[in-house]
Subunit: 351 residues, 4 copies
């Protein structure tokens, strides 16, 4: 058996006790030590099951048991469990070089969507050798849990935008992922980094990560403000890490001719994204767009872990709220929901 | 003085006699030998002058005089004059590696927009050493004139879509540029090449260039037909060489997860391009988009000339209608306008 | 049991009967239908076993049995078995995007090196869903067997050299792989393609594949001849598909400033490759080099199969000698060995 | 007239007075304010003239006069003069995207090779709009002069090696350029950065720039030490910023399968670089190599200036020795020559 917290068949959120999965040859069982916390609406938004489902998709834990084919991990190892734990044996991985869409759109993201997640006393991870990464002593639990989703996503969108030495970069949406994107832009050689958001309290952490200018969307159109900060030339690259559907056209409007836009934004809440022909320069200006879910898996985590180990950045700065104890999950989630005015990210610790 | 045909200050189309430009040190004067012909609406669409302006933007000609700083061309040389003759000394070229937008969006395209074009007894080309290319004996006038715009544009969009060995490719719009895009896709290693258009008469030439399947948009939604031809998987790459604003969303819908879309389409006739969130997979599927005007200049032309010289493809197949003589310009343009049901491209010869 | 032909523990070449492998869940058993033949020295060169080992590493066959986890193949399917059948669940594949070196240098190449090969009445292929590809009706056995190694290798080296529209390309070594590299260069948009070899009889097939010039190394230094054919400018790209260690320096000498060299050559027979500082321009000229073994696996084969299916090229042109019947293996290999003056590639058929 | 210091026709080093160049339309005259200093052997090594030639190839100065076609600079502007001031109107720039080899190998580097350099009361720069960059207030003279050659070269080699998030990088040679390469590797997202050199005093500055490990080549073979620091796996990328010809083979030996090597080293002092076949893995392991001179020009300088302006790194840390006054050039050069045991870079100031 296992015990956790999640979405129940009747649609309510609460405690769940269910049968533990069978340990298949490549699987591992993990005891979660620190788990990222979200508001209920996030859990409902990604939930795609007809069963009781334990939620929680950012985790650092301890290996408690491994399948017979697992070679590189053993009970007692502390590991980062990435949000995206794909199947690596797929022709799509051979074909496009990504595994997060392995057998179909997004199906590399299983935890808390189709498979039980991390707000539990035990969780299963598939293909442990390909999806887990050792957490070294130099990296804290808080840092590790922020690598699982926030950092890999923030770094991915900067990779998509292809930031180069000396680039100016606009980061639209500087919540948890956007903050990591600022760090990633700095570690890609960006010069000017302009954060775009409506929440003033994010300014301070953004500056600590490397943001040079803050554009508050309540002060006027973001496009105008970004153009003003770049002598009307536009930024070299735009990173979209949040926002409503209108941010896509804005991104085209604020990027220079020949610039690039990367996005990890979830464009929802509408049927159609309106792309203004003038923002798109009638399709003639070589502004590039690539939008997609972050990769996950072991090597990705190991690379990010190395960045923390060697003091290149601290992903833990965005953890503004910390909770402790399995019994406090409900209370913590409630508080997270109420504190949206000053919270960036929250973590609960079980060790 | 020079004499030509173009758009007059009063907005009418007709004969123009005007003062010849001063020959600046890097300029050349060219006597046009073969010029691509368009319908009047095309000339009006790109016209951006307040003066009498000679039109014509695809040309093979003979050098008649060169400025004192021109090193590689001399009177008597037969040359291709590309449609795009940029300024190469611009920081934008240093920055983004393209010169077609040199000092501003599209300003590498001068001929028949801001500068006099090729339907004239003499034309000026700026920066001859950087913008002209010798037409070798192995390449005909017809082939040469089709390289100036049609071929470079068709090859550019295939480069933008990044076609690889074995890719399936959908080419939306298989008029003059689309036909060249089919040839370019084949010469990029494409396997299946699906042409999408509403004009049946384009099927035959398309097949000669390497198209494997023809989707007539009058037979049902293009997306459905393309998906049916690819076992519902979508094509690896989409090339947009024509169509209304709706083709952008269609392109996202018919390309596979992780695929790429290249476009040289001029998106006009509307304020907004509606991009369906479902076609865009909510921004999560790594479908890439890059859209822009072809490059021009000397090296680009030399590369395409080599492809013809070594028999890799024949850009002249799309020239379905040929006219002769400076005096017949009006008549020829009139005929081109009337024959839109069976014409791909028309050329007028002055030699 | 299975019966085949290969290298015996005592070092002799001959018939081998041995126990058939156990069929693991992801494996398939294949009955070879057509197998590429080599001279004994090739088999000895790659052999890396201490046991009786069946040789043969290019194969088209029929599936006779599949493991319980195999999803996409069933008995009766005709398939291409690529020479390279890697393990795809490796961190190296996640890290560098290649699987041919999966767990260590070259270990994606198993057949006829560490695992039994295809000159047998039955062969095992690991990870069938990831490594086999259906042979469609439009593709002959001969074509299929040439895709397994020759074509994928020839196309790989052209990918490594990064051939673009209008490039001039020198192909050093135009035997089996080099011939396919010529075809691949043409299908990458190359203009001038210069074959470099000492064997005149290869000229004819090379021209059929798209070679424009043939440089016989017996007529003088290859570098001088290639420079003469390119107005002393050098070629845009060099493909090394064969030759002694000296070809590396030659490649640097014949490629232009900023050009690229791809190599799939096996540099053996010496301890050191002498790279002349003058050929390397003292390390200052941005000549790129990348050298490595071809990828294999299912998607790669499917892509090449599509090129044949859609008539983009015929890999079978290089099969100059054909043999029939399991009993004739010894005789065929003997003949292959004797006919090195006019053979490109030989295939034996068992169906 | 102008007065400076350089190599005289008789081969001696000393004061030179010569006629000032004519100011051509795109030229600018600059009054040097700070100039990098080298030992005499460096000046002799690059000298390629038959005339009296003023040396000095790293400079920040003040514009004193501009040609009639210069648009973006005016007398009084403080500017960085990059070491590489190419001709941008060349077909090579169109072709390969680099201008440092514009009309021929390295001919983008003119200053102190074929044209007079910066140790003078006035210097000419060709194509000012394309080659100069404004020095903003936030950037010191010392920082500016280090951008001209050291930083752009150090950043270039890291670009060539294609450093990605989480990479381990070995930097061979951590003198002036190598120190900047360490900073660039950090700003490209490198994790572990291993400096390789024989000079202990470079350790401290290297660590400040982001080096994590120092390998002293006097302590044993560099390859063994680097492999030991990476669990025998090798580094992801190697940057060669100095060393004898043997470092090329070493670089291949210490980089992982599928890794990349960038080099800006000047490989001299021998006819041949010995590349060990075992280090090169017989040409089968996809280790990439690209070696070449840094780019220069305006946009490059502006990008690096932005990195300093936004506090991403301080190129001035490597300036260990500072001199003042035009009259002290000889004395300063003499001291630079004597202090090779503790000097990284020296600058002389004229303002």
């Amino acid at each position: 058996m296992k015990n956790g917290f999640g979405i129940r068949q009747d649609g309510s959120l609460g405690r769940i006790s269910k049968k533990r999965e069978t340990l298949e040859p490549y699987d591992a069982f993990i005891k979660p030590l620190a788990v990222g916390l979200y508001t209920p609406d996030v859990y409902y938004a990604i939930y795609n099951s007809t069963d009781d489902l334990i939620v929680g998709h950012e985790c650092v834990g301890e290996v408690v048991e491994v399948g017979e084919k697992v070679q590189d991990f053993k009970p007692g190892d502390r590991v980062v469990v990435p949000t995206i734990t794909p199947d690596w044996r797929t022709t799509q991985a051979q074909d496009i070089g990504w595994a997060q869409h392995s057998g179909g759109l997004l199906d590399g993201w299983k935890l808390s969507i189709t498979d039980d997640g991390a707000l539990a006393d035990i969780m299963r991870v598939t293909d442990a050798d390909m999806n887990l990464a050792i957490l070294p002593e130099e990296v804290s639990l808080t840092q590790g849990v922020m690598l699982a989703d926030m950092a890999t996503t923030g770094f991915h969108v900067v990779e998509l935008a292809d930031v180069k030495f000396g680039d100016s970069v606009a980061v639209i949406g500087i919540g948890g992922v956007g903050q990591q994107a600022i760090a990633a832009a700095k570690l890609s050689g960006a010069g000017q980094i302009i954060g775009v958001d409506g929440r003033d309290f994010l300014n301070k952490t953004g500056k600590e990560y490397g943001m040079t200018d803050f554009v508050n969307i309540n002060d006027g159109p973001a496009v105008d403000q970004v153009l003003a900060l770049t002598n009307q030339r536009g930024v070299d690259k735009v990173v979209i890490s949040g926002g409503p559907v209108s941010v896509l056209s804005d991104a085209f409007a604020m990027v220079k001719i020949g610039g690039s836009i990367g996005s990890i934004n979830h464009f929802g809440g509408a049927d159609t994204i309106p792309l203004k022909i003038s923002d798109f320069d009638e399709g003639l200006s070589h502004k590039k767009l690539i939008a997609g879910l972050t990769q996950g898996g072991r090597v990705r985590m190991e690379r990010l872990i190395n960045l923390v180990k060697y003091n290149r950045f601290d992903p833990g700065k965005i953890v503004t709220h910390k909770y402790k104890g399995f019994d406090n999950i409900e209370k913590a989630i409630e508080e997270v929901k109420e504190k949206q005015d000053d919270i960036i990210r929250a973590v609960i610790y079980f060790d």
